[in-house]
């Protein structure tokens, strides 16, 4: 019974209460009276009845007003308050109930509002704490990512199954060098989150190294590491250092450091490993060159020395006739001359290798000069200026000792000749670099100045056992004093060996997509290899390759060909923009003019691109161990399958189709085109209509679909496949 009905009943009851007793007692009096008395009552009451009825009606009206008022204030007021409470509970957290009505209701309102206030404060507090915690985690992650990307060493972190959890851009470059198809996939088929390290390294090699580390852990070795050298795909030589990732979490995480490190604590179990990679192909070449040089200088001279020595010893015999004597002398002359030549040749040829013995680093010359300027100004308070500085020059230096030498020289110039300003100049001279330290001022003798280079460097509280000469020699360089008489200036010229420009980190590898690169995913630590097939795996935990192709036309069976493949990866529910695959393909046939507006690929863009038999193996490697996803997958798969025979590459992994899944989710929608779905799912599309652009949109759509599918009870790969098969579109054959 709703409130209104109850009100009506209350009114009826009120009416009955007000008239009922009077009417009943009147009826009783009427019945007990004789006819004469009844006549008397009619005469007496009859004319006054309207007054009584009026009073009754008046009383009833007042009663109704009172009941109505009570009803409004207590019943309807409470009902309204309940609705408002509901509003506060769900839709509008900031809503507060207005204080209105009788004091009892008002006090209820106050309590309710106070409770809401308390709830809001609690919620805000929890949210703030969550945000703070998230921020600190994010900061730590960013710091780690920044650190990793700054490292000049390649670092790859794997879990125990050999899946890659983290890598830096240097590692990516290194893997690119290892790739068999560097131009096609850029090493992306080798390195990527969730990929297996075993595609690069022999499983046994890694297993052996892991065993070594386990052994080290058991015997409580302080820092168990394993080293191995292996060859990569393209004949590259890699030196690998493996160290363990030890459990810090769980029970052991609660323990203080000291307890954990105690022998026998047995909490140090491995959850993964870190690989530090060093491409030593070039070092190795250098070393073999050095070996070869040593060999030429030692073994290569043995025979010649033997000849000389024997001939010389023959000359001692008194019974030697003149002709023979001449011949022995000839032997000595010829051999010694040949040895001298060999020595020169070797010295020239291996001069670089000899210099490389010092651990010199390659550095941009301009950076060294900038550092020198800063230090001279800060430490010696001598202003500096730059003359021509060739910003492209790389030098091979030990920057610490070289800067020390420069500071020392400036310090002496300032102390002894009151030089008030120095200038730097950097220029190239063939394989050498000239670094000039210039000053102007009073004349000084060459001897004085050049004697500085033989004294141990000490200045401004710093002292070094090395002399400037030592430093220069360490660099395989030279130094001298020159004068520019016209300008009343002099300068020290330091000659240093030039270095080949370092490969700058390929910015395209870093800059794709916004924000921080997705080079790590610690959630992968939680992965475990399931023995059963992929069918019962949750959609949320699978790794996907989402791809799209552009083709010359729609009929692969009539000779239409793939001209572009684009793909991206989804790992642990995240799309990895950095790990994408994009490759144009030479279709070996003409593009029809009507297809060009669709894919936007001009015929000249395909000149010199690899053919499909080169691209498919790389794409296959990129997609290995993943589930394939495409929009209208049947179409793309048909193109891939028609190439199976020719290329020997078979794509037999599970395939999901976002078009079919969309049909499962929204069976009553007319359009299941990519744009339409994206719009439905509130996705903003940029850069469509390239294979990679479409693949990325498809990936985002798929990620949005996963929770929607789960609402329909579609959680595993098997569920998704079966649902898609049932859908109407599945019956259409392409």
């Amino acid at each position: 019974m709703d409130a209104r009905a109850r009100f009506a009943v209350a009114i009826v009851v009120l009416g009955l209460l007000m008239t009922g007793p009077f009417l009943i007692s009147a009826a009783l009096v009427w019945m007990s009276a004789d006819p004469a008395e009844q006549q008397l009552m009619i005469d007496l009451i009859g004319p006054r009845l309207p007054v009584g009825a009026l009073m009754t009606i008046l009383g009833f009206a007042v009663g109704v007003a009172v009941v109505r008022n009570l009803f409004r204030q207590y019943v309807q007021g409470l009902l309204r308050m309940a609705e408002q409470q509901h509003l506060m509970l769900e839709a509008n957290r900031d809503f507060r109930i207005e204080e209105k009505g009788p004091p009892e209701v008002c006090s209820l309102v106050r309590t309710t509002n106070a409770l809401a206030q308390q709830r809001d404060e609690l919620l805000r507090d929890v949210e703030a704490q969550i945000t703070a915690a998230k921020r600190s985690v994010e900061e730590e992650k960013n710091r780690l990512a920044a650190l990793m990307s700054e490292l000049t060493q390649s670092v790859v972190v794997c879990n125990l199954e050999g899946r890659i959890l983290l890598y830096n851009s240097r590692a990516r470059q290194q893997f690119r060098a290892l790739s068999d198809a560097p131009s096609v996939a850029g090493g992306g088929e080798l390195i990527g989150l969730g990929r297996s390290i075993y595609t690069v390294f022999d499983r046994n090699l890694v297993a052996h190294a892991l065993e070594t580390i386990q052994h080290g852990l058991v015997s409580e070795h302080a820092a168990p590491v394993a080293n191995f050298v292996t060859t990569g795909g393209a004949g590259q030589l890699l030196r690998v250092q493996m160290s363990p990732v030890l459990t810090g979490g769980g029970d052991s995480g609660q323990q203080p450091e000291a307890v954990r490190d105690m022998p026998g604590a047995a909490t140090r179990s491995m959850t993964g490993f870190i690989l530090m990679l060093d491409n030593i192909t070039r070092n190795f070449e250098n070393e073999s060159r050095r070996d070869q040089m040593l060999h030429t200088l030692t073994e290569g001279n043995r025979a010649a020395l033997a000849n000389v020595r024997a001939a010389a010893e023959m000359l001692d015999y008194p019974d030697l006739d003149d002709a023979l004597r001449q011949r022995f002398r000839g032997v000595i002359r010829d051999e010694v001359k040949a040895m001298s030549e060999r020595l020169d040749e070797t010295a020239n040829e291996f001069a670089d290798a000899l210099k490389a013995r010092w651990p010199l680093e390659e550095m941009l010359g301009a950076d060294l000069i900038a550092a020198a300027q800063r230090r001279v100004e800060a430490r010696i308070q001598v202003p500096t200026k730059l003359e021509e500085v060739d910003e492209t020059l790389w030098i091979k230096v030990d920057s610490f000792s070289l800067l020390q030498a420069l500071l020392y020289l400036v310090n002496r110039l300032s102390d002894e000749f009151e030089v008030r300003e120095v200038r730097f100049r950097l220029s190239s001279a063939g394989r050498l670099v000239h670094l000039d330290l210039i000053w102007s001022g009073q004349a000084m003798s060459t001897e004085t100045v050049m004697s500085w280079e033989l004294e141990p460097m000490s200045f401004a509280g710093e002292s070094s056992p090395l002399t400037v000469r030592d430093v220069i020699e360490r660099h395989g360089g030279e130094m001298w004093l020159e004068r520019e008489k016209v300008r009343h200036r002099a300068f020290f010229r330091i000659v240093l060996p030039a270095a080949n420009p370092q490969e700058a980190v390929d910015s395209s590898l870093l800059a794709r997509g916004e924000g921080r690169p997705e080079y790590y995913d610690f959630d992968l630590f939680k992965w475990s290899e399931r023995s059963h097939g992929l069918d019962d795996r949750l959609l949320t935990e699978l790794t996907y390759t989402v791809f799209d192709t552009e083709t010359t036309g729609l009929n692969p069976s009539q000779g239409d060909e793939i001209i572009q493949i684009g793909a991206t990866r989804i790992v642990n529910g995240k799309m990895l923009r950095q790990e994408s695959f994009e490759q144009l393909v030479d279709p070996r046939r003409k593009l029809t003019p009507e297809s060009i507006p669709i894919h936007g690929i001009q015929p000249e863009m395909l000149l010199g691109q690899p053919t499909i038999d080169k691209v498919l193996p790389a794409f296959h490697a990129f997609a290995s161990d993943t589930v394939l996803i495409a929009h209208n997958a049947a179409f793309d798969m048909r193109f891939l399958q028609l190439k199976e025979k020719a290329t020997g590459v078979v794509f037999d992994q599970p395939v999901l189709d976002t078009l079919l899944l969309s049909q499962v989710l929204h069976p009553h929608q007319e359009s299941h085109r990519l744009d339409a779905i994206a719009e439905r799912l509130n996705l903003h599309i940029v850069g469509r209509h390239t294979a990679l652009g479409d693949a990325m949109v498809t990936a985002e759509i798929f990620l949005k679909m996963i929770p929607l599918l789960a609402e329909k009870g579609i959680r595993t790969l098997r569920d998704a496949r079966e649902a898609a098969e049932k859908s109407y579109y599945a019956r259409i054959k392409y």
């Binding site: 030692t298 073994e299 290569g300 043995r302 025979a303 000389v308 024997a310 023959m314 015999y317 032997v331």
Partner: protein, 123 residues
Amino acid sequence: MGNKILIADDEQNIVISLEFLMKREGFEVSIAVDGEEAVEKIRAEMPDLVLLDVMMPKKSGFEVCQEVKSDPALQSVRILMLTAKGRDTEVAKGLALGADAYMTKPFSTKELVERVRGMLAEG
């Protein structure tokens, strides 16, 4: 004495010294300038001792040594290997292949003569 010596070396500049030295000792000297010629001359002339260089064209000293030592008919031929390779491992190889003695270049000619005399006296 009339001992026969074969000098097998492709380097003319050492052969001239060795030839002079051996002739001066009163030996009968013949010369081979590569591995194949060395084997032929050993079979044809049956020298008492061969001064055998390791690095020779056509056949290396090691090969010559192995061939000679595996032929029972050539049992009496002694071999002194001369080599410009000073590593212990190569000395070991020469001796293992049956060389009777081994000298590393550069060597003292006096020592060489003594070694040759000693080896011939043993035989």
